[in-house]
Amino acid sequence: MRSSAWTWGASAALLVALPLVFRSGFAMSLFCQAGIVAIFALSYNMLLGQTGLLSFGHAVYYGLGALFTIHALNFAAAGWHLPVTLMPLVGAIAGLAFGIVLGYITTRRAGTTFAMISLGVGEMVAACSLMFPGFFGGEAGISANRTLGEPFLGITFGPQIQMYYLVAAWLLLATAAMYALTRTPLGRMANAVRDNPQRAQFVGYDPQWVRFMMVALSGFFAGLAGGLAALNYEIVSSESLSAYTSGLVLLATYLGGIRVFAGPIAGAIAVTLMQTVLASLTTAWPFYFGLVFLATVLFVPGGIAGIVLLHKRLWEMRLARRAAPVYARMALPVALVLVAGVLMVEMAYRASAGVSLRLAGWLLDTRSTGTWIAVVASFVAACLLCRWAWRGARPRWAEVSAAIGDAR
């Protein structure tokens, strides 16, 4: 109890302090984006990690939440009395309402069938956005202005920092609520249904109803995230409820780790960094994003949270010293693979554009066969080196993981 109170206090303090350290406008919009994606990814994990439901259409609730909020914002500009602070609740209630309606359809079945139905429903709603541009805004989107009415205590939501604190407050509230939900009868039965729906029936629960309630409630939080996005960007287009956005939240959630409650927050931060920082460095960023996701699925199914937990356990069990040689041995080979890999991708990208790669004073000619042979050969060599190093390190790593396993 005390340690959890400490965690919440520290999180709140961190959220308050962040803008005092990072003052740039870029950092501010980055934080806002990460906070919104964090709520969205946490809501997605209510389905994926907690209930075992793989949805390909979660953006529907996010996008509809955003749409209803942006319309509410425009109504408010026309004279409705609704404070901007509470506006995300409009999105949340829209998300809940559509969660109830669409959840009733999608949760008739679980497993692959659920995934397919969620994809179908997602496509249907996305199609509506192009069929009814009046409400959905189409590709151009609907815009609004969040600075309306008289300033309240000097708050107009004009400056990005005020928007940041709004996102931070809702993030904290929503996270606390979603965390509390995991420790309620419904939350626990969602886990039970994930593990074994048949057995859940034989302790008196209807797995279909448990799934339905989780979809509806996760729609609420996805809608909340959408509402905040509407306020933050002041525009909502058809992209926000598209399969692209549904895919993005899946990737962020899985990348962060679906077995740990806070995992999706880490995933949201990682994805936001890739979308902004990495995107400012290279136009090939979606390719790297794909690679990172692939590597996560293949090598670290526990995601970022899984890695953190593993190392926490290594540290607590005083195994860090035994694991250290493995890291020392693998560091250089892995770095070489990464460098050679990135070099290859960047050269390929530039070759298609017919330009050469300029790198810290070097000029790599993307049309010369010799350069290509050298780069590909160094990539292959790095891979072989990595494999060789891992062969040597594996017995020790097996020892360490066995020691962790035994302790359980």
Partner: protein
């Protein structure tokens, strides 16, 4: 005549053209320990799945305390007071032992789908879960995920989940399968204790368990009950010897 705890009338089950259960009539009285025996493939597990509504019947009817339950869904049958264990261990494998038991209690103690109450604060649920934990001898393993328990421990937890909710009719499907002699003795002791004051229907291959535990025995062969009676009656029954015990002795 007071209604039986469990009454099957003309129960049939066909999978495609194959008839597995071919007209079973079975009456289990309140408070009785009733064993269902029969050679492999006789349809015992299928019959269990029919009673617990995992499969729909092809024809016939099943009544629980005089109320028809055939045609209802599994969770509805469970809510009416019938609980079962599985032959192949069937747990919430990522949840801890304690959490498994807690989940088995939430519905019967009336918490349904509540998402506004904290499970840590449900005193009745936690006290009862701890009590069952002691009963099945897993108190020391409370915080271990069910998936990494030993086989015998998983079987004990399987029984724990089945009885936790306080159902008055309990179906156990081969509870001692794959256990060593000592483990079996402990399991039988546990079953004897937990079935006190309840109705028990048990499928079991171990004859010493069956004859030591059951008040009545029914013998199922090729989807039909060929005999039903007290252990001495069954032991003396010529048809049973021929169809079942003889075959088992030769096997």
């Amino acid at each position: 005549m007071t209604p039986a705890a469990l009454e099957l009338r003309g129960v049939e089950k066909r999978f495609g053209a194959t008839e597995i259960v071919r007209g079973v009539d079975l009456r289990v009285e309140k408070g009785e320990r009733h064993a269902l025996i029969g050679p492999n493939g006789a349809g015992k597990s299928v019959l269990f799945n029919l009673i617990s509504a995992l499969f729909p019947l092809t024809s016939g009817s099943i009544e629980l305390h005089g109320e028809r339950i055939s045609g209802r869904r599994a969770h509805e049958v469970n809510r009416r007071g019938l609980s079962r264990s599985f032959q192949v261990t069937n747990l919430f494998h990522q949840l801890t032992v304690f959490e498994n038991l807690r989940c088995a209690l939430l519905w019967t103690l009336g918490y349904r789908y509540a998402f506004w109450r904290r499970v840590e604060r449900l005193a009745d649920v936690n006290a009862r879960a701890r009590q069952v934990l002691d009963e099945i001898g897993l108190a020391a393993r409370a915080d271990v995920p069910a998936g990494i328990l030993s086989y015998a421990e998983q079987r004990a937890l399987e029984i724990g989940i089945t009885i936790a909710g306080g159902a008055d009719v309990i179906l156990l499907d081969e509870p001692t399968a794959g256990m060593s002699r000592t483990e079996t003795e402990a399991a039988v002791e546990l079953i004897r204790r937990i079935s006190q004051g309840r109705t028990l229907l048990i499928v079991e291959h171990d004859m010493s368990v069956v004859f030591g535990l059951a008040d009545r025995i029914s013998v199922l062969v090729y989807g039909r009950i060929i005999a039903s009676g007290t252990p001495p009656e069954i032991r003396a029954n010529e048809k049973v010897r021929e169809a079942y015990l003889g075959a088992a002795a030769h096997a």
